[in-house]
């Protein structure tokens, strides 16, 4: 757990959108996937993921639907909407710009 990093403000939304781009998932699934793909760098608890999902839903970027898990439990599955896809594309470009700029600064091209 010491290895985990505070998620940057705004990054969480991008992460969630990206994860959901591949397939609809429920909350716990999304958290697991984030931990898995960032190799444990980011660990998102339900305390922040739950509000984040609702924020995205209110913006119309994701859509929640009740579904069933393999265990038979019911859970809400979130999927990307059309507007969400457009948003993700935009966020990706933004992120690329920021990342390039940041790494240039950090690499010492001052």
């Amino acid at each position: 757990m010491e290895e985990t990093t505070e998620i940057l403000q705004g990054t969480l939304d991008l992460l969630v959108l990206r994860i959901l781009e591949l397939q609809p998932l429920h909350g716990v699934g999304i958290a697991d996937r984030i931990e898995q793909v960032t190799r444990g760098v980011f660990v998102v608890g339900p305390g922040s993921l739950f509000p984040a999902l609702h924020r995205l839903a209110d913006q119309g970027w994701v859509e929640g639907k009740w579904g069933e898990l393999e265990t038979g439990r019911r859970a809400k599955f979130y999927a990307l909407t059309k507007a969400g896809r457009a948003r993700l594309a935009k966020e990706k470009r933004n992120w690329q710009k920021i990342a390039t700029a940041m790494s240039r600064v950090l690499a010492g091209e001052v």
Binding site: H26, V28, F50, H54, G60, R73, A83
Partner: protein, 895 residues
């Protein structure tokens, strides 16, 4: 709990359950797993709250964004915005103006402590000083001795108080500055515990005490407005003295700003202890006679006592008192052998008001009328919004294509109509404030002492805000929903204009316009009915020439009784010398005033023997009364100057009296005796006169005798001089003032009016209804015409291509014009077909208010119809003319 919240709870629970499952599978005990899961959630409740908070914030943000978007789009089309806002402001203003009157007259509670505990022991509508009435049954008004007894015997009220129902017009002059200046003020005599029972505390100084009533202390409380206006709002006013009548009163307190007394529709400037009446109103005695009824009596219910129990309790006291009262037992004993008078309690929270009875129905009728105006305004706006939404089809289509949800779009369009509604509401409040003042001014031409506390409270504001929002939703919702159903592909297509979807839009528009035509027809017909009814009332013959007839009221309470006959003759003599005055007489009640007199009587030589059947109205008149009016004598002669000088006990009867009591004739020389409770007066009949109308143009002939005013029945405090003139009214009026001053400087001259003005005053309710109905229906018609014009010009602009082709194929401008006009009248015809039965049905609602015509009066209907048709012609003509001038080449190229 809202559905979203329930869903949120379920979702959080499902989430928790999955985590708990997982930890249990890892080997944790159930309790431990649950604790761990909850910990990860950072507190389930807080997390859920975070979501809700974000949602509220977002909703607010969206609302602001929509609001500013709506504002921007409106600014882009100022023409639309102005028409919409003005239409709405007219509708809202009319509603708010009428509502503020409804509020002031009908709804508002007195600004006192716990008004709901107050009850009136008298009729809220009763007013004036009543000395002639023989009371029986439920009492409408009480005398001072009665009030004193009720207060003494009271066991059911925590307090009982009384206020004189006439609001007095008095001259106040400040004691210090000498008699140099005096102001006209409205005063009221009230019981000592008046303010205390109402729970009204002085804003400055103190209020009266019961002791001050007992001692008749010369003290006074002034109203806040009066203090600010006439006493410079200075604290030094406390302790200063004013002269009123024959007394000098020390001002001891100032009432709170919102308190104007318990009588709605009247303003009181100064209150005196009731027992100072002989000083305030010298020459009369209202305090001792038990049959001088002039008090409104109000009580505050003791805690735990119902209005029913209180009524039973106070009536026990009242009956005990009645049994000890000689005058009452005299009349009642003759009639039934026991006193049959009682007191009925009525809710007093809204105070007393002679206005309320007369005006509440007409006001509600007007409220209905302005409601219809509002409906028409809404229809108009819906039409405008529809047209606009259509013009924005592309924009809306684009937004839908970009993924905007339908609800989101509807919300946005609705916000826009709410912006219009809000602007209209603000303007409407201003218009309403002006309008309500105009209304009060209109009403007060008929009631000189009318005063109304117009909206200083929040009722009217809330009402206006409420209808603004409601109308915003009403005219915005349908167009918004329609607009959101745009077919994206078609809207984005190049040839969106003039294609099939337009039909739906014009159909909705047409239905709205048809409704507007129908509603305005209802209003117009109603207005025509009221106007014609007013005219009917007004033109009723009264039995004499009522033009060139003037009335001047004189207060003679202070004049020496023995000298009065000489005074009357002196006044007649002097007034006759005014240039332009031909004849002068006088009477006790004047013409078309508020008072009339009636009594039981005994009639000598009449075949009618049943004493219960013998009663009549009477008027006390001076010499030459019928000559002045110009009414022919049927038999005998009228009261002469000689009779007046001798105070002869003679009288004239009218034809109705003759027919009723002397059907076989032989009245002249007989005697009739007026049976007033305390006095009996016998008069010899010297003449018979034609029946005339003296109090209402609608009255039926009733038995009446005219006695010699020089030999009065009971006490006489005021009289009216009656002048037949041939000159200029204003010149005669100033002549009257001068003449009265010359005869006796101390005689208070009251208002001078022509009889026509006096009749108009009596018809204030009818005039109010007729004038406002006419005004509101004109507003409604104007809106309907705008709507009609809008729909017709829109549809002709849509048909430019088609019209161009027709013209290219040889159709003349005239035939195109005919075609457009036919379309206009097609809509109007449907509107009329719907409107006529509605108008008939609505007319039946107020049939009882109509005089001399039925609710189905064909002339009124014809007037309504012709005005609607004329307006339709006007509204359709301009677009028709424009259509007829279409250049086929231009229009086809455009297509």
């Amino acid at each position: 709990m809202r559905p979203e919240d329930a869903d949120l709870d379920r979702e959080a629970q499902a989430w928790l359950d999955i985590l708990i499952d997982r930890y249990q599978k890892q080997g944790m005990p159930r309790a431990e797993a649950e604790r761990r899961a909850r910990m990860e959630f950072d507190g389930v409740t807080q997390t859920k709250e975070k979501v809700r908070e974000a949602r509220r914030g977002a909703a607010l943000e969206t609302f602001w964004r929509d609001l500013s978007y709506g504002w921007r789009t409106l600014r882009k089309s100022p023409g639309f915005a102005v028409v919409a806002v003005v239409t709405l402001a007219l509708g809202i203003g009319a509603n708010s103006a009428i509502f503020s009157l409804v509020d002031a007259v009908i709804l508002r509670l007195l600004p006192v402590d716990h008004p709901e505990q107050l009850v009136l022991l008298t009729d809220p509508a009763a007013s004036g000083v009543d000395v002639e009435t023989q009371e029986s049954g439920v009492r409408t008004i009480l005398s001072y001795p009665e009030f004193v007894e009720l207060r003494r015997g009271n066991r059911v009220f925590s307090g009982l108080t009384a206020a004189g129902s006439p609001i007095l017009d008095i001259d106040l002059s400040p004691e210090e500055r000498g008699a140099a200046t005096s102001v006209r003020a409205r005063g009221q005599l009230v019981a000592g515990e008046y303010f205390e029972v109402l729970g009204v505390r002085a804003a400055l100084g103190r209020v009266f005490t019961a002791l001050e009533e007992r001692n008749a202390s010369p003290v006074a409380v002034v109203s806040y407005d009066f203090w600010r206006r006439e006493l410079d709002g200075s604290p030094a006013a406390l302790g200063s003295s004013v002269r009123a009548g024959r007394g000098v009163f020390q001002i001891v307190g100032v009432a709170p700003p919102d308190f104007h007394g318990i009588t709605v529709g009247s303003d009181v400037n100064i209150w005196f202890p009731i027992t100072t009446q002989p000083q305030v109103l010298p020459g009369r005695d209202y305090l001792k006679p038990a049959d001088t009824l002039w008090l409104q009596v109000m009580g505050r219910l003791s805690p735990g006592i119902s209005i029913k129990a209180a009524q039973a309790g106070i009536n026990v006291t009242f009956q005990q008192y009645l049994r000890t009262r000689p005058a009452a037992s005299l009349i009642d004993a003759r009639r039934t052998g026991k006193p049959n008078e009682s007191i009925e309690l009525r809710a007093g929270a809204r105070g007393a008001s002679p206005l309320r009875d007369r005006f509440s129905d007409p006001l509600l009728l007007l409220m209905g009328m302005v409601g219809v105006v509002m409906l028409i305004a809404c229809a108009n706006l819906a039409n405008l919004m529809l047209a606009r939404a259509n013009g924005r089809e592309r924009e809306i289509g684009a937004r839908l294509a970009l993924g905007a949800s339908r609800t989101r779009l509807i919300r946005q369009l609705l916000t826009e109509s709410l912006v219009v509604a809000g602007l209209g509401g603000v303007l409407g409040i201003l218009l309403g404030a002006v309008g309500s003042r105009l209304l009060v001014a209109l009403v007060s031409t008929g009631m000189s002492d009318l005063w109304m506390d117009l909206p200083r409270d929040t009722h009217v504001l809330l009402f206006t805000a409420g209808i603004s929002i409601l109308t915003g939703l009403a005219f915005g919702l349908a167009p918004a929903i329609r607009a959101s159903r745009v077919d994206i592909a078609r809207a984005m297509g190049a040839s969106a204009r003039g294609s099939t979807g337009e039909k739906g839009r014009t159909r909705t528009g047409r239905i709205l316009v048809i409704a507007q035509v129908a509603l305005s027809l209802v209003l117009l017909t109603g207005a025509a009915l009221f106007v014609r009814s007013l005219r009917n009332i007004f033109i009723q013959p009264v039995g004499y020439d009522r033009s060139h007839l003037m009335l001047a009221g004189i207060d003679i309470a202070g004049a020496d009784r023995a000298r009065r006959p000489a005074l009357y003759e002196a006044l007649r003599e002097r007034l006759r010398q005014i240039p332009g005055v031909r004849d002068v007489s006088l009477s006790n009640n004047g013409l078309f005033g508020d008072g009339d007199s009636g009594d039981r009587l005994t009639i000598e030589g009449s075949p009618e023997k049943n004493p219960d059947e013998m009663h009549t109205r009477w008027t006390e008149v001076g010499a030459d009364y019928f000559k002045t009016l110009g009414v022919p004598m049927r038999l005998g002669r009228e009261i002469s100057a000689d009779d007046a000088a001798r105070a002869a006990q003679v009288c004239v009867i009218n034809e109705a009296f003759l027919k009723r009591y002397y059907p076989d004739g032989g009245a002249i020389g007989r005697h009739i005796t007026d049976e007033y409770p305390t006095t009996r007066e016998t008069f010899e009949i010297i003449g018979v006169v034609a029946d005339v109308k003296e109090h209402s143009t609608r009255e039926e002939p009733r038995p009446r005798f005219y006695s010699n005013v020089a030999h009065p029945i009971g006490t006489l405090n005021g009289l009216a001089m009656l002048l037949r003139t041939s000159g200029n009214d204003a010149a005669v009026a100033s002549g009257i003032r001068q003449a009265v001053r010359e005869v006796d400087r101390s005689l208070p001259l009251e208002e001078i009016r022509t009889v026509s003005q006096q009749i108009e005053r009596r018809l204030i309710v009818e005039r109010l209804l007729a004038e406002l109905a006419a005004f509101f229906s004109a507003v409604a018609l104007f809106m309907a015409a705008i709507g009609l014009y809008g729909v017709i010009s829109y549809s002709t602009s849509q048909r430019r291509g088609e019209i161009g082709i027709r013209m290219a194929l040889g159709a003349s401008g005239r035939s195109v014009m005919g075609m457009v006009l036919a379309q206009t009248f097609g809509m109007v015809a449907i509107g009329v077909m719907v409107g006529v039965p509605c108008a008939l049905a609505v007319g039946r609602l107020f049939a009882s208010r109509l005089y001399g015509l039925k609710a189905s009066d064909p002339w009124s209907m014809a007037m309504g119809l012709s005005v609607v048709l004329a307006a339709a012609l006007l509204a359709g003509y301009v677009p028709a003319l424009r259509a007829s001038r279409i250049d086929p080449v231009v229009s086809l190229r455009h297509e």
